[in-house]
């Protein structure tokens, strides 16, 4: 173990938080698996346990590998990856998997391994790195809106358009994250307003086309509308089924929860091991469990801020924030859905929910963050003369 720890670089607390989340994730995932195993017929719950373990193990391997890469390489990598991601997204879309007639082609099969992979999640990470790269590149220039269109917004909108038909929420969150990142990078607010405006315009156009020609392409417009309507509508509708079960789960949890594996709602909540896992956590471990999870994510947010703060380069800062904030944001969205603060989306709880893609991409992002913080450590080792009291404090927290 000793050499392993020696080789671990970067912010140790991020490592600890991630490890803790990963360990804790076994409890709800294993519990929620019983329903999947029951419905699946022959399989048993332990298969799900092993599967989740494999996902996490692979995730940590990715994280370890990535954090060893000096982060400056990510600039060039993102440039290379953008076309690859576009091709993958295109392939995914063409596959045309449908759920009850609506387009739900979010996954592609990885040949040989036989696992499915959600391309939009990879695209998100790549795009965020790409945007961070662009924003750091122009940091010293004064740039016009026109100049930023081709290198920044064309790739962004291309990716968003490819994700949108199958996965509105991911596209919307990604858009929001990109906007947040360019805002952090000092992109002029008035240009941002134009971009947000055009983003809404594109979405409206898409919905109108989808409504006007329902057969033109498979899409999930009706599902989104239904979800948003059921969120806005205080009366009980059929679409409220999931959220009602989630609220029942939360209400039965109480302070201490009903105990590990004793959740009842896991049998009725679809996606109880991914989208609605927060509700199951509260049912089984109560407010206590919910608070622990929430604190871990907020702590992660805090550490990300610290890493960004301490990074020497603009690219480093923007990179950490670009890949780090979406993790926390996604976690908050997931929890907000479970407590009916937000309409139902398909967002997982990073590192907790089962599902390979989500875990791996989160680990990839964390690896990037760690890579940035590891670089900082390297520099620090060289010049040990800094003793800013704020920095010493942030190191220890």
């Amino acid at each position: 173990m000793q050499p392993l720890f020696k080789n671990i670089k970067g912010d140790r607390l991020i490592w600890a938080i991630v490890a803790l989340l990963a360990i804790l994730s076994f409890l709800p995932v294993y519990s929620a698996a019983s329903n999947l195993a029951y419905k699946g017929g022959g399989s048993n719950t332990f298969t799900f346990f092993v599967k989740h373990f494999m996902h996490l193990f692979l995730g940590f391997v990715i994280m370890y590998g990535v954090h060893k890469i000096p982060y400056r390489y990510f600039r060039g990598l993102s440039l290379v990856m953008i076309p690859v991601v576009l091709v993958l997204l295109g392939l995914t879309m063409l596959q045309g998997t449908t759920i009850e007639g609506a387009n739900a082609s979010r996954w592609i099969q990885i040949p040989i391994v036989g696992m499915s992979f959600q391309t939009s999640t990879l695209a998100s990470v790549v795009l965020m790195v790409y945007v961070a790269r662009y924003m750091s590149k122009i940091k010293d220039k004064t740039i016009t809106f026109k100049e930023s269109i081709l290198p920044l917004w064309v790739p962004v909108f291309l990716i968003l358009i490819l994700i949108l038909p199958a996965n509105f929420s991911t596209a919307a969150i990604l858009f929001l994250m990109v906007v947040m990142l360019v805002f952090l990078g000092g992109y002029p607010i008035r240009y941002l307003a134009v971009i947000i405006g055009s983003g809404i315009l594109v979405l409206t156009l898409f919905i109108l086309i989808a409504k006007a020609f329902p057969d033109a392409m498979p899409n999930r417009v009706d599902t989104w509308m239904g979800r948003i309507e059921s969120f806005a509508n205080p009366e009980d509708t059929e679409a409220d089924y999931q959220i009602e079960k989630a609220k029942i789960a939360i209400a039965t949890g109480g302070i201490k929860g009903v105990g590990p594996g004793k959740s009842l709602q896991k049998n009725f909540l679809p996606q109880s091991s991914s989208d609605f896992i927060f509700a199951i956590i509260i049912e089984e471990y109560g407010l206590f469990g919910g608070f622990v999870i929430m604190i871990l994510y907020l702590w992660l947010l805090f550490r990300i801020v610290i890493v960004a703060q301490k990074s020497d380069t603009i690219f480093g800062k923007l990179l950490v924030l670009g890949v780090g904030l979406p993790i926390v944001f996604q976690a908050l969205i997931n929890m907000a859905v479970a407590v009916e603060l937000f309409p139902v989306t398909g967002q997982t709880l990073p590192l907790i929910s089962s599902g390979g893609t989500s875990i791996w991409m989160t680990c990839l992002a964390i690896g990037i963050i760690l890579s940035v913080s590891a670089k900082r450590e390297e520099i620090k080792e060289q010049e040990i003369n800094e003793d800013n009291p704020l920095e010493i404090l942030s190191e220890t927290i």
Binding site: T142, E244, M294
Partner: protein
């Protein structure tokens, strides 16, 4: 655009602050769900997830008096398939074999079935019916068919079990055996024994068990034991005798078909106990087929007609206002009473005849004259007799829906001067067939009026919960003198009266015919006359065993309508067959008749065999067969030689001599 670190960090603090607030909002909402809405959702949790499941108690069986099942509950199964559940691979692999098996099972062509199931899959039909209402063994068979044997999730098998009430005897006595049935509105119909005793005995008490939902449509029991154990219903043992029931049913059916009658009933009652041995009620449907429609025998009050003349004459005899030999002038078949004519069916009338003969020939005028002459001034006296015989009130039998008799009284709107003479020959009053039968049974039963009974016992397995005994309504309906006179007349009706066509030399029966107009108040009666033909009586004449009534409504007048022609033959057939066909009559008391001589011989042989083991016994006088057996079964090994056969006359070794091994004994027999 000069970007500096400070700018980035300031904006970052703003965004991180927003996220923190978002996190706080999540926690706030979490608390609000737990504390503000908590009770609502917690109650929803138990409401949605835990339910009380009724475990239906098994309904008790209904048995005949011979122990045959008349009604029982058996599980039935509906088999359906969720055509979407099987995977493509399984569906394609097993559909053909499944359809072949189903085809063998149902007889439908295999490719037709295949087409239908494929269609169901295309239409996303998750509830496609394969077989309805099949028994347990068929269910087991279908469950093992290809595809379906993969189970509910992989094969799409859906099994729904229901409990059906079955009548193993089929349509026979169905209405009397009865059932309990709910319609969609929740109204219940409870005909017959099953209906009458359903709530009290047969139904049992349903059990309860709490179940928790573990998925869509999947429930598991919450605890090991049932919250309330179901208690099965008791079995009900009726008085119905399936053999007699069968005879009555078919005799009635044959006659109804012959006379194209509207409906009819037969009731056979055991004289001594009042137990109903058979009750058959057949009505015609639109297609001209007869089946058990309504319990006419119990529920239908009608004007009894001539069968009531017996009651009228008995009242007069008992009051000693006349005697059987009293001469009555029946005139020429037409007599005026208070402005209305009464006719006799015999053209030209019977002239002056005795009161007994009045009943034998069933003269309306005769009986009306007797009753009017002696009771017109004091009709209460006549009515009191009827009340004494409990003919004015229902018998109070257990089956629901007993018809009410209608006996008019002075002061009623039906009462007039003509009421009394009309009543004398069975008009202007109403009785049910069962009430009439009960009265005739009382005559057969030496004046003891017993209540008709359908039940013998209620049992839980072999334990008797309740037994039903004979219930006497009136100890003596009249004096023995009157009883003997009326019995004599009833006998003579079959010998030389209106029932003489029924007379048989081989067995005796007694009874009274009845032919009564019905619906005569309707305008079209003249064009389309309608009658009710009946015959009520008992058999055999001496020491009667059964009484029986046959009522047939609206026989086709083109074929015939007189009680003796329409209903009489049914009565005769029932009586005849009971005495010829039923094994009860041919029962032999015992086959073990002991003979003392045989017993004695056996005793002495046994004694000898026990006593003489090595010493020669005295064999003279016993059969050679027995002697040989005795010697060869001894403890010494002797050789036996027998000359001749029959009884032993001499033996070569003297008695009481000790025998040696291989010694030869010569016996001489003749």
């Amino acid at each position: 655009m000069a970007v500096n670190e400070k700018g980035i960090l300031n904006r970052l603090y703003f965004i991180a602050g927003c996220m923190f607030v978002f996190g706080l909002a999540v926690i706030f909402k979490l608390l609000s769900i737990q504390y503000l809405q908590g009770d609502k959702y917690r109650s929803m949790a138990t409401e949605r997830i835990v339910k009380d499941v009724i475990i239906p108690a098994n309904r008790g069986n209904v048995y005949s008096v011979n122990g045959n099942l008349l009604a029982t509950s058996i599980p039935k199964y509906d088999i359906r398939i969720d055509a979407l559940a099987p995977s493509n691979k399984n569906f394609e692999a097993y559909l053909k074999p499944l359809c072949n098996e189903l085809s063998k099972f149902s007889g439908k062509p295999s490719n037709e079935l295949e087409k239908q199931i494929r269609q169901a899959r295309a239409n996303k039909n998750r509830y496609f019916l394969l077989a309805r209402n099949i028994g347990y063994s068929d269910y087991i068979r279908i469950r093992n068919f290809p595809l379906l044997n993969l189970g509910a999730f992989k094969g799409g098998l859906i099994v729904e079990q229901t409990t059906k009430r079955e009548h193993p005897m089929g349509g026979i006595a169905q209405r009397t055996i009865g059932y309990e049935r709910w319609d969609e509105q929740g109204n219940v119909t409870r005909p017959g024994i099953d209906g009458a005793f359903g709530v009290k005995y047969l139904r049992g008490v349903d059990g309860k068990r709490k179940k928790q939902q573990i998925g869509k449509g999947q429930w598991k029991p919450l605890s090991d034991a049932n919250e309330v154990e179901p208690k099965d219903g008791y079995d009900v043992y009726t008085t119905i005798d399936v053999n007699i029931q069968d005879i009555a049913h078919h005799a009635l059916l044959e006659q109804l078909e012959k006379y194209k009658a509207d409906h009819g009933c037969v009731v056979v009652m055991e004289t001594k106990t009042g137990e109903i041995r058979a009750i058959s009620n057949l009505g015609r449907n639109k297609n001209g087929h007869y089946y058990e429609r309504l319990n006419y025998a119990v529920g239908e009050s009608f004007e009894p007609g001539s069968t009531f003349k017996v009651m009228a004459l008995m009242a007069a005899l008992e009051d000693k206002v006349i005697d059987t030999s009293t001469i009555v002038d029946t005139q020429n078949g037409r007599k005026r009473f208070y402005g209305r004519y009464i006719n006799d069916s015999h053209r030209g009338g019977y002239g002056k005849i005795s009161a007994a003969r009045v009943l034998e020939v069933s003269s309306n005028i005769g009986i009306a004259t007797i009753i009017d002459e002696h009771y017109s001034k004091q009709p209460e006296k006549f009515l009191n007799r009827i009340k004494e015989w409990k003919l004015n009130m229902p018998l109070g039998i257990s089956i629901i829906g007993e018809g009410n008799p209608d006996i008019p009284e002075p002061g009623n709107k039906n009462w007039s001067k003509n009421a009394l003479p009309s009543m004398a020959y069975g008009y202007n009053l109403e009785l049910t067939p069962l009430q009439t039968l009960a009265f005739y049974n009382a005559i057969a039963n030496n004046g003891e009026l017993v209540k008709p009974r359908f039940l013998r016992a209620v049992k839980e397995f072999d334990e008797e919960i309740e037994t039903f005994d004979k219930q006497v309504l009136v100890k003596n309906i009249c004096s023995n003198e009157t009883l003997n006179k009326i019995k004599e007349i009833l006998k003579n009706i079959v010998v030389r009266g209106t029932g003489e066509r029924l007379y048989s030399e081989t067995f005796s029966m007694a009874g009274k015919t009845g032919t009564v107009r019905t619906e005569y108040w309707m305008n079209d009666w003249e064009d389309n006359p309608r009658y009710v033909s009946s015959f009520s009586g008992y058999f055999p004449v001496d020491n009667p065993k059964y009484s029986c009534i046959v009522v047939i409504h609206k026989p086709s007048t083109e074929v015939g309508y007189y009680g003796a022609d329409v209903s009489g033959p049914v009565f005769k057939k029932v009586a005849q067959k009971i005495f010829i066909d039923t094994p009860i009559v041919d029962e032999i008391e015992t086959l073990n008749i002991s003979k003392t001589s045989v017993d004695n011989e056996y005793e002495s042989f046994y004694k000898t065999a026990q006593t003489y083991k090595t010493i020669m016994p005295n064999l003279v006088g016993i059969p050679a067969m027995d002697a040989l057996a005795l010697l060869e079964n001894m403890q010494v090994d002797v050789k036996v030689k027998i000359n001749g056969r029959g009884i032993i006359k001499a033996q070569s070794v003297n008695k009481n001599t000790k025998l040696k091994n291989n010694q030869t004994v010569v016996l001489t027999a003749s």
